[in-house]
Structures are given as structure tokens and as C-alpha cells.
């Protein structure tokens, strides 16, 4: 089934079977592998992308339901100050959950540029990190503007 997908400002004409997820489309059909899949069933947040600025789990978002909403992936946020903040504070270890963390954090600071510790913990609780970088993720987000 044909669709047009808008990702990071670019339009893609795609012919995809119904049932294909946004995460699969981004990674396998468009080649944007910055979005990671760790559980593939909406439990961990590694695949987080933005739809019109709102964070969603792309692994449980069917691509045909996206419509004309703008998709933003980590590739569209590579120059976001959060990237430097995550590196500066060492808020990543293996890095597999990190793109999803940064995408989720970008939505958080967009809505609330100076989040408190509780607001960060609430806003980021949907993004798991098995390496345990959480204290530094909190530091990165609370100091994201440098």
C-alpha cells in the first residue's frame, strides 16, 4: 500500500505492506538506523521518535497510521545541544538506548526548558537503560543548555 512519509524534512514515497511498523520502515526501508529496536513491543523506549513533536514508540506505531505528521528521528536531532550534553556528562555507555533517550529528552526540554529532577524522572521513565546511565541522563537534561 502506497504512502508518503515525511522524515526529518524529507518526503519519501513508499510502497509497504499493511502492518509494517514505523521503526521497521525507518531502519530497513529508509536506512535510518539511528532509531534502535530493543524489544519491538513498546516496553523500552529505544525506538522513540517524534510525531509532530510528540514522542512515540516507533516499534508499535504502524507506518500507515502516521499520515502527514512530521517524523523526527535522531538523525534529525544530531545537532541538538542535548547530544553534546549527553557526551559531556557521560550519559551513555553501550549507547543502544541513547538515540531514543535523546529524542525523548528533546520533547521534554521543548515543552519545559528547565525541568526539575522530578519532572525529568517522570518525563524519562518510559526510556529504559540497562547500563544504568540514569544519573548522568538526569544531569545531561538538567544542564542541556550548557
Amino acid at each position: 500500500m502506497a504512502l508518503e512519509l515525511h522524515v526529518n524534512g524529507d518526503a519519501y514515497e513508499l510502497e509497504l505492506p499493511v502492518g509494517r511498523t514505523l521503526a521497521e520502515t525507518l531502519r530497513d526501508d529508509i536506512g535510518l538506523t539511528g532509531t534502535k529496536i530493543a524489544c519491538a513491543e513498546g516496553h523500552c523506549g529505544a525506538c522513540t521518535v517524534l510525531l509532530d513533536g510528540a514522542p512515540v514508540y516507533s516499534c508499535i506505531t504502524l507506518v500507515h497510521t502516521v499520515g502527514d505528521r512530521a517524523v523526527t528521528t535522531i538523525e534529525g536531532l544530531r545537532d541538538h545541544p542535548l547530544v553534546d550534553a549527553f557526551v559531556r556528562t557521560d550519559a551513555l555507555q553501550c549507547g543502544f538506548c541513547t538515540p531514543g533517550q535523546i529524542v525523548a529528552a528533546s520533547a521534554l526540554v521543548e515543552a519545559n526548558p528547565h525541568p526539575t529532577s522530578d519532572e525529568i524522572r517522570h518525563g524519562m521513565a518510559g526510556n529504559l537503560c540497562r547500563c544504568g546511565t540514569y544519573p548522568k541522563i538526569e544531569e545531561a537534561i538538567s544542564t542541556w543548555q550548557g
Partner: protein
């Protein structure tokens, strides 16, 4: 000079006697304390690649013509395949090949646990392979599963013979002791939950096999696959540039690699075999559950006179005996110790090493019973530990041990007790607990590195090691930069490919930094020597007055030249430095130590537990990167909190079926569960260990977490929790037991 030695090699507490060719380590250690680069915080050299989503993990690779494999895993915990037919499956859309029991290493017709690999299908897409699995016709003979560890002990069903260690006369010492405590502790099965699931892509090129794999041990995979497939090892190339977590579960090739290799051979195309999350929760390994029946006995002055432990490791259908008895044998000075460790073979998924395997579980039991003993002795738990401090490991001296200094540094955290307890209001009770840490982490030979320097004055460290997310690439960059007198950004590291560098250590057992660091330093020193030789000839100076510093060749007579000016003479020639890891100190025990102090709050009405603060003080020798080191400590503690409070692989005992195969049902800690964490590393180089004096840090921080939290709970509530995870049920059970005990002591009728 290379030397052949007979030595003991240690990995995760397992020793074997081996012949090793080692090269002498001629370099003096740097003085203690921060240097120009080493000992100072450095951000990750791969940080931006990972954060920007540019790092290419095995999961991101796509080879031209690549097929996808799906594995048929046993739905039964114990069964036999009476017959299997691929006829319908092979006719399904996109299917290119199918293999069954006996057709690839690790495919079996007699599965002993739910999730054991039986057959596999390769298709054009993963969806097609998965769909075709449903069409494989299997006639199962379902067998009775054995899942009860104690019953396995009774039946004598073990993965290896029970091991027994005894020193002194334990029974006599217990009989003569003033105070004796006996208790049974239990720890649960915990899943590694690496975010990148286990996976490989295999591609044959003629008689050579390329394996792209998410692994902690490039060379181990090479050797294991070569041996099973009957290939010369160098015909197997193993690549892992970025990997998404392993925690001990990715030390081997595993079923997915053998499946991908065989399907690739049959189809002549590259094949990816990646586990789904549900497969990962079943078949990628676990920290096995344990039962620990312990006795501790002391004189009234607190001197430990006997320790005894009967340990049952629920190892699973396969695996090895993780040293749950290790802490009891090693942590304290006690003349009479007896341990029996029984690793039982049952119909559950096999264990794999998981961040300090055995010692995490054993430290929970030992450090909890020590606090129960302290309570009975009416002694301060920290004083009890100091009183029974071990000054040697049997006959063996420690290469270094600064645990007493750790205890001293713990004092200010320990002295917060009154203040913390005073916070108790209503049902919320607050308390403080501590636990000690002992573990290996010395690394060892062999490990090699090369350092390449061209006319642009930049250095590249080349070694076929892996960075599993711990930051070891950054550590190696720092070490080479320090030795070469270069800024950090003038040094690169090339790693992750067995075809592009020499043999390197596995990244497990806290061994990457202590094994690889000295090799990298010695390679950099070899390159530095050559730069100095060239400069001496060019500027007509004696070599002995030249050194490398701040990007310059510096002469003690006051002159200096930028390194790029010296190496600029090379044009296309290159300086190649070569380095090897020297031997560990002979006759010495190389170990890591530490202590953690935890503060908790417990709601005695609901059993809810909150960890509010953990102070971690560890002795791991020289710290190369304090920033990365603090991240390792925090990560270990957070995994430890999951282990203590929420994580539990649930198994139906009647069928052996895993009940929580997904990350919503298996409870990992979230950012909201994290306490304040205070990290203090002593940063005292081990003067006997290598040219670096560094030990490993990956594992030590997780070791004492559960016991420190459980002891804090006792301090807060008076209840003895003895089972992990400390769920609300376990907390309420312990509170009821404490209440009953208190009433009995007061002479009141016990509550029913």
C-alpha cells in the same frame, strides 16, 4: 624477551593452569595521582557516534543479498523430537533453506529447557522466516521436567561435581562458639537484558567465514567457531565495532552464530540470525538462582570462629558452577571454613556469567548473616568487619589490598545513621546498612596492541579488542596519549576486527583495562622510543636527555621540537610500536575490594522499599578515567538495585515455562528508581600489577548492593529479609516474622 611460563589463569573466578608465552613488562609504573591525561576525566571517544545514532551496531548491518533466519525453539522444558518435517515450510514464500537437529552445532532433538534451539529457517525477510516456522511439523514427546534444585541435589543431577572446600575444624569451632547464627538465603534468576539482543551475520567468502556479531570476546568466537566447524582459526574473521550491552552473556558464539553460519553455507548468501526480545529472555543466559544455607559462629568479642555454607546453584540445563561460595572462603580472616557448592542440572535455561557471577549472590548471603551475627553480638557491623579483616589469602599475599582504607572512607557515610533513622515518620522507617566487596579483576596475559604513528603526528592504537560500552576505547586512548605526550584528540583507536589487529583479552571478568591497558602502554612506549631515536639523530642529541611531552620532543638542555616536525621526516614511512601484556605477579592474589553504605526507607504497612542513597567506596588500583569510572559504578549499583528489589525471572515450576518473557513483565529499574549515588575510588596503583597498576571496575560495584540494602532494611525495621528480590511479599513476611520473634522474646503469645 618472550618467556614461556606455567601459570594460573583466572576468568570470573575460574582458574586453569596454562602454558603462556609472556613478554617481560619493562616499564616502571607512573607515579600515583593524575597525570597529563591518565587519571583525568575524559568523555567517550565514541560518544558522539553513539549519541547521534551513527555508530553501526551488528543490528544495523545489512549485507548485499542477506537472508534472515528464525529459530524454532522448544516450547517445552523437556522433550524429544520424534519427527520433524520441513516440507510445507520450505514451500512457503521467500524460504531458502531449513535445518533441523544435528544439522548445525547446538540444534538438538532432545531439548532440556524451554527455548533450546531445535531447527531454523532462512528466508528473504525475517517475517517470512518467522511465518515459515509455524509450518514446521514437529511431533513432540513431552517429558517430565525437573525444576526443583533441592530435588536435583537429592537425585544427584549436577552439571559438574559438587565442590567442597574446608579449612580447620568447623564443627568443633561451632560447638565451642559463644554465638551462632544459622539462616537460609535465596536469590532469584536474573536476566541480563542487553538492549541489543544476541545476534550474528555470517558470510562465507570461499573457504573463509566472516562473522559480524554482538560479542564480548572476538577471539573466543573465532576459536569456538573454528573448532566446531573444523576450520583453521584465521579462516574465521570476527567483527564487532559497536555492541549494545552484554554483561557477561555474550562471551561465546551461541546457537545463533552456528545457525547463521550453516544457513549461509547452504544458501551461499549472508545470513542474519538475531534473537527477539522474547527469545533473549529465554535462551541468552541468566544469573542462576541460588539457595544458601549458612552458619556463622563467633566468640563474644566478635572474633569469627567458623563459617559454613551449603550452596545450591540452579545452574540450568547447562553452564558452569559460579563461585557462590567465594566470598565466604575469601572475605574474612576465619580459621574454620567449610563450603559445599552443588551446581544442579535442571530443565531451566542455562546460566551464563553475569557481572561478578557467584559473588553477587554469595555476598548477599554472607554479608547479611554477618549483620545478623553483629545484631546478636550487639556489635557495630562495621567494627565486626574490621575485627575480622583478612591480611592474606591463605598463604598468598595480596598484590594490594586497601579495604581498611575503604572502611575508613565509609565512616562519614556510616555515621549518618542517627540522622537517617530520625527521619522515620508514621509507617516509613529509615535505616542504614553496609556490605563489603571482594572480587577478582586483575586481568592477565596474553593481550597485544600496536601503535602506529605517521608523518602527520597522529597516533593510532590498533588492537582487536572490543568496547562493550564500558568505555575501554577511551581508556586505551588516554593511556597511549599519556605515554606519547600527545593530546587526547591526536590519538585514535581501531578495534573490533580480528583481521585488523592482534589478539586481545575478552571483555568479561573486569579484565579489559587491566589486560589491555598495559599492552597499549607498552606499544606506545615502543613507538615513543623510536620517535626519540629519530629526534636524537636529527638534532644531534643524546637519546637519554630526550622525552615526549605536550606534543613535543623535549630535551633536558631546554630545546624542544614539535612531534609532527620529527615524524614529518618520515613521509610515507611509519613508526610501528608493539606491546604485550606482561605476567601477573607470581604467588600473589590479585583482587578488588570495596564497601558500600546504603540508606533506605521502608513503609512497614505496605512493604514498599525505597533506596535513597548509596555511597560506594572501591579499591581498584589506578583509575585511568574518573568520569567513565563513576559511570561504571553507578551502572553497577543500578543493576544491583534491580537485582535486589524488582527483577525476577518467573518460572512455572510444574512445566518449566518462563512466565515473563517481555520487558513489561520483567521489571528493570527506571530513571525514577535511582537513588543519590556517591562514588569514591581510592585510586591507589597496585604496585605489583603491570606497568599500569590498574584493576578492573566493571563488576565490583554490583557485588555488595543487595546485602547493603538488606542490612539497611534490618536497621530500619528490625526485620531479616533473606530472599531476593525483596518484593513487598518478602518484606511483609520478614516484618511479620520479626514481630512474632519480638513477641516471643517478651513472653507474649506468638501471633498466628
Amino acid at each position: 624477551m618472550a618467556r614461556l611460563i606455567r601459570t594460573e589463569k583466572e576468568v570470573e573466578g575460574r582458574y586453569e593452569e596454562v602454558w603462556l608465552v609472556v613478554e617481560e613488562d619493562a616499564l616502571e609504573q607512573w607515579p600515583a595521582g593524575p597525570r597529563e591525561v591518565v587519571g583525568r576525566p575524559a568523555t567517550r571517544v565514541t560518544g558522539h557516534l553513539r549519541a547521534r545514532g551513527e555508530a553501526r551496531y551488528t543490528a544495523d548491518l545489512k549485507l548485499p543479498g542477506m537472508l534472515h533466519a528464525a529459530v524454532l525453539r522448544s516450547p517445552h522444558a523437556h522433550a524429544r523430537v520424534k519427527s520433524i518435517s520441513f516440507e510445507t515450510a520450505l514451500a512457503a514464500p521467500g524460504v531458502r533453506a531449513a535445518i533441523g537437529p544435528g544439522e548445525a552445532h547446538m540444534l538438538t532433538d532432545e531439548p532440556g529447557y524451554q527455548g533450546q534451539a531445535v531447527a531454523a529457517i532462512a528466508a528473504e525477510s525475517y517475517g517470512q522466516a518467522r511465518a515459515a516456522l509455524e509450518l514446521v511439523e514437529v511431533d513432540w514427546e513431552i517429558r517430565e521436567p525437573l525444576t526443583d534444585p533441592d530435588e536435583a541435589v537429592r537425585r544427584g543431577q549436577f552439571v559438574s561435581e559438587p565442590s567442597r572446600h574446608e579449612r580447620g575444624d568447623v564443627d568443633k569451632a561451632i560447638a565451642e562458639a559463644d554465638v551462632v547464627v544459622e539462616a537460609e538465603f535465596r536469590t532469584q534468576t536474573v536476566l541480563h537484558s542487553s538492549f541489543e539482543t544476541h545476534q550474528s551475520i555470517c558470510e562465507w567468502r570461499g573457504d573463509r567465514l566472516d562473522i559480524y556479531i554482538s560479542t564480548q570476546f572476538i577471539w573466543g568466537v573465532r576459536d569456538e567457531v573454528a573448532s566446531k566447524l573444523g576450520l583453521p582459526p584465521d579462516k574465521v574473521r570476527v567483527v564487532c565495532e559497536f555492541m549494545g550491552g552484554g554483561f557477561g552473556s555474550k562471551n561465546g558464539a551461541n546457537d545463533h552464530t552456528f545457525v547463521a553460519a550453516e544457513l549461509a553455507r547452504r544458501t551461499g548468501r549472508p545470513v542474519r540470525c538475531a534473537l527477539t526480545r522474547r527469545e533473549e529472555n529465554l535462551a541468552s543466559g541468566n544469573r542462576n538462582s541460588t539457595i544458601q544455607r549458612l552458619t556463622a559462629a563467633a566468640r563474644s568479642d566478635g572474633t569469627l570462629v567458623a563459617l559454613a555454607g551449603e550452596y545450591v546453584n540452579a545452574t540450568g540445563w547447562d553452564g558452569w558452577a559460579a563461585p557462590t561460595d567465594g566470598p565466604m572462603r575469601m572475605l574474612y580472616d576465619c580459621e574454620n571454613v567449610r563450603t559445599v557448592l552443588s551446581p544442579v542440572k535442571i530443565n531451566t535455561p542455562p546460566m551464563k556469567a553475569f557481572r561478578a557471577p557467584g559473588f553477587v549472590e554469595g555476598t548477599f548471603g554472607l554479608e547479611c548473616i554477618l549483620d545478623e551475627l553483629a545484631a546478636k553480638l550487639k556489635m557495630d557491623p562495621l567494627e565486626l568487619r574490621k575485627l575480622n579483616y583478612a591480611h592474606s589469602d591463605g598463604d598468598k599475599p595480596y598484590s594490594s589490598k586497601n579495604l581498611m582504607e575503604c572502611y575508613k572512607r565509609a565512616e562519614p557515610h556510616w555515621q549518618r545513621r542517627d540522622e537517617v533513622r530520625a527521619r522515620s515518620t508514621g509507617p516509613w522507617k529509615h535505616g542504614v546498612g553496609l556490605a563489603s566487596q571482594i572480587w577478582y579483576g586483575g586481568g592477565g596475559p596474553p593481550s597485544y596492541a600496536w601503535v602506529r604513528l605517521g608523518s602527520d603526528g597522529r597516533a593510532t592504537v590498533v588492537t582487536a579488542m572490543q568496547d562493550i560500552g564500558t568505555g575501554t576505547a577511551t581508556t586505551m586512548t588516554q593511556i597511549a596519549a599519556e605515554e606519547l605526550g600527545l593530546e587526547l584528540d591526536r590519538v585514535d583507536v581501531v578495534l573490533g576486527d580480528s583481521a585488523r589487529g592482534p589478539y586481545a583479552s575478552l571483555s568479561a571478568g573486569s579484565s579489559t583495562t587491566p589486560s589491555m591497558g598495559p599492552a597499549v602502554r607498552s606499544a606506545a612506549a615502543d613507538a615513543a622510543r623510536q620517535i626519540i631515536e629519530i629526534a636524537a639523530q636529527r638534532y644531534d642529541k643524546e637519546e637519554r636527555i630526550l622525552s615526549l611531552k605536550g606534543g613535543n620532543v623535549v630535551s633536558s638542555d631546554g630545546s624542544s621540537w614539535p612531534i609532527e616536525e620529527v615524524v614529518g621526516l618520515l613521509e610515507d614511512a611509519q613508526i610501528l610500536g608493539k606491546g604485550a601484556r606482561g605476567p601477573n605477579p607470581t604467588g600473589m592474589q590479585v583482587l578488588t575490594f570495596g564497601v558500600q553504605v546504603a540508606e533506605v526507607a521502608v513503609d512497614v504497612e505496605t512493604g514498599e522499599i525505597r533506596v535513597e542513597r548509596v555511597a560506594a567506596i572501591h579499591d581498584v588500583g589506578r583509575v585511568v578515567n574518573p568520569l567513565g569510572a563513576s559511570s561504571q559504578v553507578e551502572g553497577g549499583i543500578i543493576q544491583g538495585i534491580g537485582h535486589t528489589l524488582s527483577e525476577d525471572r518467573l518460572l512455572d515450576p510444574a512445566t518449566g515455562i518462563t512466565l515473563n518473557q517481555t520487558l513489561d513483565a520483567y521489571k528493570l529499574p527506571t530513571i525514577a528508581d535511582v537513588p543519590e549515588i556517591v562514588t569514591e575510588l581510592l585510586d591507589i596503583p597496585d604496585e605489583h600489577l603491570t606497568n599500569l597498576g590498574s584493576k578492573g571496575l566493571g563488576e565490583p560495584p554490583i557485588v555488595p548492593v543487595a546485602a547493603a540494602i538488606a542490612n539497611a532494611i534490618r536497621d530500619a525495621t528490625g526485620a531479616d529479609v533473606r530472599s531476593l528480590p525483596i518484593s513487598r511479599e518478602e518484606m511483609l513476611r520478614a516484618l511479620r516474622e520479626a514481630e512474632t520473634k519480638k513477641k516471643a522474646e517478651r513472653g507474649a503469645p506468638a501471633a498466628v
